[in-house]
């Protein structure tokens, strides 16, 4: 009964809602984040009853780099995955010269001096991000070469 009552209440609340789509993009370059248009706000309210945000939640220990070009220098897989998944955040933090993602990358690459690492990446921003459509492999190759 309890569930039924509240369901009806929710119907009343949400009946004006439209159907919206969330455009989920994946990739190895910059700009591969979830894009939401205005109607997604309504969707978010609806999603509150399932706590689900994307339909296909997996039980995966890797975020995957399967579609990405490989790095020239043999790298650890974790670093590749991390960079592929955090391209935009990393670009920003590298430009700022500090941040959690930069520190994480330093740890993955076993760099001792995180401060110096962040500062070196900042000075090399233009060579790391040499084009708008730079990909994970190029970013990591430039970082390990510098």
């Amino acid at each position: 009964m309890k569930k039924l009552i509240v369901s009806i209440a929710a119907v009343a609340a949400l009946s004006s809602a439209a159907i919206a789509g969330v455009n989920n993009q994946t990739g190895c370059g910059l700009g591969s984040m979830i894009i939401k248009d205005d109607s997604s706000a309504i969707m978010l309210a609806l999603q509150a009853t399932t706590n689900g945000t994307s339909g296909n939640q997996t039980f995966g220990i890797t975020s995957g780099t399967s579609g990405c070009k490989k790095t020239k220098i043999v790298m650890n897989e974790r670093a590749e995955e991390f960079v592929a998944s955090n391209m935009d955040q990393l670009a920003k933090e590298i430009a700022m010269g500090h941040g959690e993602s930069v520190d994480t990358l330093a740890e993955l690459l076993a760099v001792e001096d995180k401060e110096a690492f962040a500062s070196a990446l900042q000075s090399n921003y233009n060579s790391i991000y040499s084009a708008d459509d730079v990909k994970m492999a190029e970013v990591l190759d430039t970082i390990s070469a510098s």
């Binding site: 369901s7 209440a9 949400l14 991390f82 955090n86 500062s119």
Partner: protein, 610 residues
């Protein structure tokens, strides 16, 4: 001689006896099938014997889902009589059960198995410690106030970004399904609930960046063995499903099982009787004493608002123009009138805004990438600079709890009235905002009964009310909206009537408070139907953390030609987390045939939350 042969054969028969049968009989003598831990492993709630896991694959015995004794037998038996010795073996599929049985019964001579998949997982996850993660409410979506919780398994890495998130959610695909149906199915158990495992950075992208929700992390005081046992149990649940129910068997509730499996002495589920809201699970976990540290992660939105605070109005304009490619970032860097730090903040804010526009489909990818690189390459020239100061909001733990009872006393037009109220969930605009997102309201079944002149009447019975009074800033331009459905006494006559309203408006504010304008179309229904529209102006002032003042004036015009004024004033005094005193004045204009002057109500209420 014969006697020796007899003894010899007896001895042999014992040696070769089926260990499984022996251990089953020991286990049954010890009544392990009644053991709390066995029930935890099978997800059997405190009452009864029926598991909450609805998937037959989770059970080895035919009637395992309702017979913990049969399941115990079947598990011991299967561990000794493995059909295969690889990932498909019982030991590999149920490592937590195996671990507990080995420990409790001292099982020996179990077949050697090779759990390749599980070992790969453990090697990658490197489980060391665990945290409970609570993404806070999403602005403009008060329903998200109920939040979400998931568990994070931390590794030896210092960076928590490399941890893994264990999440329980309804397996629904919002892209494929009607949004309306989607919400309903979530409520009534129309979806399978599944566990998923993802790198924590993916969750950060989802909640912190995309949903713009602040995140609270509560480190759990669990040791490595306990965390390992939790991971083993998660592995057992990996491919199984349970029906998902928004109110009780939801994401947060299922996280409680995991914590109890990690440490049996912790009792969390007993804390709840009816429904489980994520903020309440945080309270329960905190009260059980296993929270060691708490951390706050600002959302993208919070970060952008912090930049707004650091910038002047002119600088904010520059950031907005940069994000749209209207001015060149070089012009900021070359501006000699600006301090180095202002330049950094302007460019950083511009980069955030650019990304925000893109993520909200207000800019295309090509422009986003182009502006991003030009802004950031200029920012990279300016060195490290200061860290953006972000003030940490009150911990959700310091907020009031979900259920409210209220006792009120006062006068209505000189006549004493007494009121008693009960609200199962959750928060309204008059309640203290400490630990809540300002300007949000969500109420279920708010009930207020009035005792006056020896009569008991319904003063108010709100089915559901939601409000999102979101302030507009230079960077964010949200609309405010609110809806309400239920009985109230605000109509022109003196009876309570059923009403529904849905309205929208605008709000502005600063740290001291906010004001708003709302336009609310509404209708009343009892024997006849009356439609109308109300225009409201209101303000909320925060004197300090303890005091909060609300006021609102409304003018309504009905389709039957009548007009009506309403006014409300409320002074909230927060005595502690869960106790508040409220002084209220309400004015409701009534038909002159009923009351010349309308209803003037003064009252004092004592609100208690639990």
């Amino acid at each position: 001689m014969l006697r020796y042969i007899f003894i010899y054969t007896y001895f042999i028969s014992v040696l070769c006896a089926d260990s499984a049968a022996d251990y089953i009989s020991i286990a049954e003598k010890k009544k392990l099938f009644e053991d709390r831990y066995w029930h935890l492993l099978l997800h059997i709630p405190s009452k009864g014997n029926v598991s909450e896991i609805d998937d037959a694959r989770f059970f080895l015995a035919e009637d395992g889902f309702e017979n913990p004794k049969a399941e115990l037998r079947a598990t011991i038996d299967a561990l000794y009589h493995e059909q295969s010795l690889d990932d498909n073996s019982t030991a590999c599929r149920f490592p937590a059960r195996k671990q507990w049985l080995v420990k409790t019964l001292g099982l020996t001579d179990l077949p050697m198995v090779e759990c390749q998949e599980f070992n790969t997982l453990i090697k990658r996850m490197d489980p060391q410690s665990a945290s409970l993660v609570f993404p806070f409410a999403h602005v403009n979506s008060p329903a998200s106030m109920f939040g979400h919780t998931f568990i994070r398994i931390d590794s030896s890495y210092e960076s928590k970004m490399l941890s893994f998130a264990i999440n329980y959610a309804a397996a629904a695909d919002p892209d494929k399904e009607n949004g309306f149906l989607f919400a309903i199915k979530g409520l009534v158990g129309g979806y399978h609930g599944n566990y998923s495992l993802l790198p924590y950075y993916e969750k950060l992208k989802e909640y912190r960046d995309s949903d713009q929700r602040d995140i609270w992390e509560y480190d759990l005081d669990l040791n490595r063995d306990e965390v390992m046992q939790m991971v083993r149990h998660i592995w057992e649940l990996k491919d199984t499903y349970s029906w998902y129910y928004f109110f009780d068997e939801n994401c947060s509730y299922n996280m409680l099982w995991l914590v109890e499996v990690a440490r049996e002495s912790v009792h969390l589920r007993e804390y709840f009787t009816y429904y489980v809201t994520p903020p309440e699970t945080i309270h329960s976990v905190y009260e059980s004493g296993i929270v060691s540290q708490m951390h706050y992660r600002p959302s993208k939105r919070t970060t952008m608002l912090a930049y707004e605070d650091m910038l002047t109005a002119e600088e904010r304009e520059e950031s907005l123009s940069l994000a749209q490619g209207d001015i060149a970032p070089e012009s900021i860097v070359n501006d000699k009138t600006k301090s180095e730090q202002s330049k950094r903040y302007i460019l950083e804010a511009a980069s955030e805004l650019n990304q925000y526009n893109y993520m909200n489909a207000k800019a295309n990818k090509e422009d986003y990438l182009k502006y991003s690189r030009s802004i950031l390459s200029q920012r990279a020239l300016l060195g490290k600079g200061d860290e953006l100061p972000i003030s940490q909001p009150a911990n959700p733990l310091t907020g009031h709890q979900a259920t409210r009872i209220t006792a009120q006393t006062g006068w209505r037009n000189g006549t004493p009235i007494q009121l008693l109220g009960w609200r199962p969930a959750n928060h309204d605009l008059l309640d203290s905002d400490v630990g809540y997102l300002r300007g949000t309201q969500i109420e279920f079944l708010d009930t207020l009964l009035r005792y006056e002149d020896n009569k008991l009447e319904i003063e108010k019975l709100t089915f559901l009310s939601i409000a999102s009074i979101a302030q507009r800033t230079d960077f964010f331009k949200p609309f405010s909206w609110r809806m309400k459905s239920g009985w109230d006494t605000n109509y022109l006559n003196d009876k309570s009537r059923f009403m529904t309203s849905i309205g929208a408006g605008l709000s502005w504010g600063n740290e001291l408070g906010y004001f708003y304008f709302m336009l609310d179309p509404l209708f009343y229904y009892s024997s006849k139907f009356d439609a109308g529209v109300g225009g409201s102006m209101g303000a909320v002032v925060y004197e300090n953390k303890m005091l909060k003042t609300n006021m609102e004036g409304t003018h309504r015009i009905y389709d039957n030609g009548q007009r009506q004024w309403l006014a409300m004033f409320s002074q909230n005094i927060r005595l502690n987390n869960n106790l508040a005193l409220k002084l209220q004045y309400d004015y409701v204009q009534k038909e002159t045939s009923i009351q010349n002057d309308g209803w003037n109500t003064f009252k004092l209420s004592l609100d208690y939350f639990f």
